[in-house]
Structure formats: C-alpha cells, structure tokens
Symmetry: C2
Subunit: 327 residues, 2 copies
Amino acid sequence: MSAPHGPTVGDVTEGELLARILAVLAGASTAVVGPGDDAAVLAAPGERVVVTTDTLVHGPDFRLAWSTGYDLGFKAAAVNLADVAAMGARPTALFVALAMPARTTVAFVTDLACGLRAACDRLAPGCAVEGGDLTASDTLTIAVTAVGVLDGRAPVLRSGARPGDVVAVAGNLGAAARGLAVLFDRFRDPEGIPVAVDPGVLDVAARADLAAQLRPEPPVALGPAAADAGATAMMDVSDGLLLDATRLADASGVTIDLSGIPDGPALRGGEDHALLATFPAGASLPEGFRLVGRVRDRRVAAVIVDGTPPSGPGGWDPLRDWDAVRG
Amino acid sequence: MSAPHGPTVGDVTEGELLARILAVLAGASTAVVGPGDDAAVLAAPGERVVVTTDTLVHGPDFRLAWSTGYDLGFKAAAVNLADVAAMGARPTALFVALAMPARTTVAFVTDLACGLRAACDRLAPGCAVEGGDLTASDTLTIAVTAVGVLDGRAPVLRSGARPGDVVAVAGNLGAAARGLAVLFDRFRDPEGIPVAVDPGVLDVAARADLAAQLRPEPPVALGPAAADAGATAMMDVSDGLLLDATRLADASGVTIDLSGIPDGPALRGGEDHALLATFPAGASLPEGFRLVGRVRDRRVAAVIVDGTPPSGPGGWDPLRDWDAVRG
C-alpha cells in the first residue's frame, strides 16, 4: 500500500489538480448545480436537510503506510454517510475539504477521489461529491461534510428512547477495532514505525477485520429503513457501543440494558459505524437489525451489560487518547 | 496578539472542550435540530439549499503570531458566508471541523468560537454554528461548511453574463492584500519570523487594511439583494478581481471589459471577498454596488482593463504560490 509515484500536487496548479479530480467524479453529480461555482445547489424535498461533518487527520486517524488514497476516500465518505443515516436520512451530497503537503502525489489525490466515489456508489447510490476545497498543509487532512434528505420522515434523534423499547444494532461490532490491532501488531517495524500492509500474511478473519478498519461499510440504507419501521432513537456507533449507548441513554433519560455482547472490541472498540436504534416493543425490525437489549427506566448506571454496570474505559476520546509518539 | 494561556486541549476531554464551545454558541441555533446529535436538521424553504466549504490552514492561510482565535473564527466564517451570498442565497448554518495540536489552549478555542458567532451575528443574522467536529492534528486547521437558502430565488451562477450587461462590484478591493503586505513588511523579525502585531504603530489606513486581512467583512446581505435586482451572474472575489473576472468571463463565454480599476492590489490582490456581479443594462443596482465595466462579446482576452488585455500574474494559487519557507 505504498504511495503512488509521479507528479506531486506541488508540481501542478490548483486548476490542473481540480480538473483531474473532476474527471474522476464526472457524471456522478445529482445536484441542481454541481461542482464549479461558488457553491453547490441541492434539492431539499420536504424542505428539510440533514448536515454533518467529520474529519480524518494523518496521525491520529490514519497512516499512509497502512491506507491507500482509495481507502482514505472511501472511509472519509463512509463515516459521514453513517451519521446522515443515523438521523433516518438518505445521503445526497458530500463536500470535501482536502488539505495536503506539496509532496502528495497527484495519483494519490485521484485515488482518493475514486474512493469517495466508490463509497457513495456502494453505500448510498445517488449521493455524490458536489463541492470541496483544496489547500496546502503540512498535515494531510480530509474534512468531509455530508448532506441528506428525510423524504418527509421525522428525524430520528438520540433522545427518543422510552422504557419498554427494544434495543437493536445493524452492522459489525468490534471488527474495526480488531483491524486496528492487526495493523499495530503485525505491520510495524521493530521501532514501532508503520510499514506497508501485506494482506497475504493474514488469515481470512484478520483480512475482514482489516477491511472493516480501512474501508468500513456502514449499513447506510438501514437508517431510513429504521425510521420507516418506527425507530424511537438512533445513532451511529463510532466510539464503541458502550460509550455511544451511554450517550443515547443520557440523551433519552433512560437506562440501556444490553445482553449477549461479549466484553472486548464489540463492546468497547471504536470505528464500528454500526447503527444503534431503539424501537417500540413489538415493532417489526428491518432486516439487518438484531436485538441486543431493552430500554429500562433510568437507574444510576446509563448502561447495564448482562445485568451489571460495566467498569473500565468506555471508548475512544480523540483529544484524550491520541498519543503522537505511539501513533 | 499572543495566544491565551491556561489549560490546553490536551488537558481536557473532548466532552469538556465541546461543553465550553457550546456555552459560547448557546442560544444562537436557528435549526430544527441543532448541535448535539449525529447531524443537524436544517429548514430548507423552497426545497433548495446552497452548500460550500472553505478551509484555513496554519501556515499558508494564517499565522498565530498575527491572528487571534477570534480573528480566525471570524475570517473562517466570513469567507464561507461570502460564497453563499455569491449564489444569491441567505446563509443559515455553519459546520466547523477543527483539527488542532494538543498544545492549543482551551481559551484559544473558545475565542475562535466567539469569532465564528460574531461573524454570523454581524454579517448574516440568523446564521449560526449548527455542528462540527473536533480532531487532534499537528497542524491547526479550520474547515468550515456553510449552508444557505434561496427563499424562492433562482441561484445566480458564474455562467449567466451576457454581452451588453454592466459589471459591478460590492465590497473592498485590494485592502486585504495591502493588509497582508503590512504583516510581512512590519511584523516580522530580522529572520523573517512573524511577530505579534502592534496596531498602535500603524496609521489609520494601514489599520483598516490589516482589519480587512484579519477579519474581513464581505457584503453578505448584498448577495440576495443582487439576485433580487436581476443579477445575471455573480461570484465571490477571493483570488483577485483579475483572476476571478477571468473565471466568470470563461464560464459565461464573454469578455469582461473593466475600467477605472488601478493595477496593483485592487486588480490582483487576493482575499477581497467582494462580490462581482453582472446586471442587465439599465438595471437599478442595489446600494453598495458600483459600476466597474461592461460585458462584451467574447474576444481573445477574457478580461480587458481600460482597453488593454492585462499581462503578468493574475492572482493567488494556493498550491502554486504557497512557499513553506517564506511563509
């Protein structure tokens, strides 16, 4: 997964680089006015839009030895698409602010654009990159803003869970965290410096975990499906089920009583980008959701796991937990 | 303009820092669902929204010796509000992705939030920060996405200028570039390293230029006013009038014939965030716009200045022109 060779962004003008990116994105726009003007114009049926933003930064969020441009574009899109889905909305547009060192290759940037486009095509058909910004920086940074529409649905908030509701999850729990452990354990040199990934040395399970870390595929279409099925609360699980269930429980003023989730990455690992939702008891869950618990009246503990309040660290805090030395 | 002291973002959790930021923003939200969930929900009257994104990066775009957190928040908001206005739209929401080193002080971040809020209150009342993202990074980066609504207007594109139209500008041309020259000429030490700004040593004109560079006040309300007055094309002048008029002329397939703009910063300086617009001949220009030329049939030169195609560099290209050594 070494970086591509060829000309760098320092060798070309902004206009030339933009033309290369737009060639990758050509034909995908679904906007009223797509890329190229001061701003894009998007359709907003139902007179409401959903907007969210999330950033990947070289160092805390990714390493170039481990991720290709394609991986980074795919992941930057996917994590934002998941946040739109978690409101019960359908993503329609991405806006991408890319800040990069002059040594970044043009091929890396077009590969990143391919990854953005592939994530939209695969996870949220009809969604496309409709605008962005290119800037020089010492640190490669990909800030994505995603926009979605509700198609007449009410948004599904974190605060709507009620005692008696069932708790359900769609998507993979723990795989992304296990994939990160594979990178740290298997693909660093004796000094701890990341080295290129060779998937050939991994078994099938480890390869799947690695893919979940590098190119996550959140169940974006299940967000609107959950809203249609009557979901009372929903959120994207990005910082570990335990921490995010605590947030949903606190926002709703309830206790989430989980069962059958083993302690470890599935409970505490980050970057799952699964959907955590609550539904009225007896609701027919959309295919892809599985029951993981019940909503209770609020107790002292916001979350209970198999009858006991969990102890120990609850998830990933980017400001507290990022250690520039360890990486 | 030295950085504030006190605890750093490395000393607090993400939740604590977010609470400090939200305290600054409290009461400003005008959204259906404001900050705090997976995504914001915004009203979109007329079933269309305008979206744009623009980033400020430490080094190419600002220096901490020269800009306070307040200045940076104000400028990051202002440059995006100008892009929304340039479509004929009214800004309603900002989304802010902030990536910052662990040594950044909490006071700097809350100061930045104050600047974001102040720019909205002053330039686009009713617009507020409705969401964002906090990340660790080696390079302080502020990526802002702005959303606006058209209130039933058609968007004003770059491509609508027609021969016979008049060309008009609203806002200040050249001041921001002169302000940048003041910083480079007056506030660097003998080794060229930026030092703190002391406005007391400057005359009134230089202080105004400096303010235009550090805290630009684009004529945001004049964007919708121009649309209502029948503007046929419009854009934000961010890379110098000459380069941006060339872009508008190329998009419209016309030649822009400018007159009375002196060569120098007013013609070639960046970061004006003025509005360049074309109107049908005889249209009543909104107060704040002044005539600067005529739209002609397309000739070889996209832009003519006082009868002559201009020569020499045409504006600022962030990838070509940023020199990490000079700064």
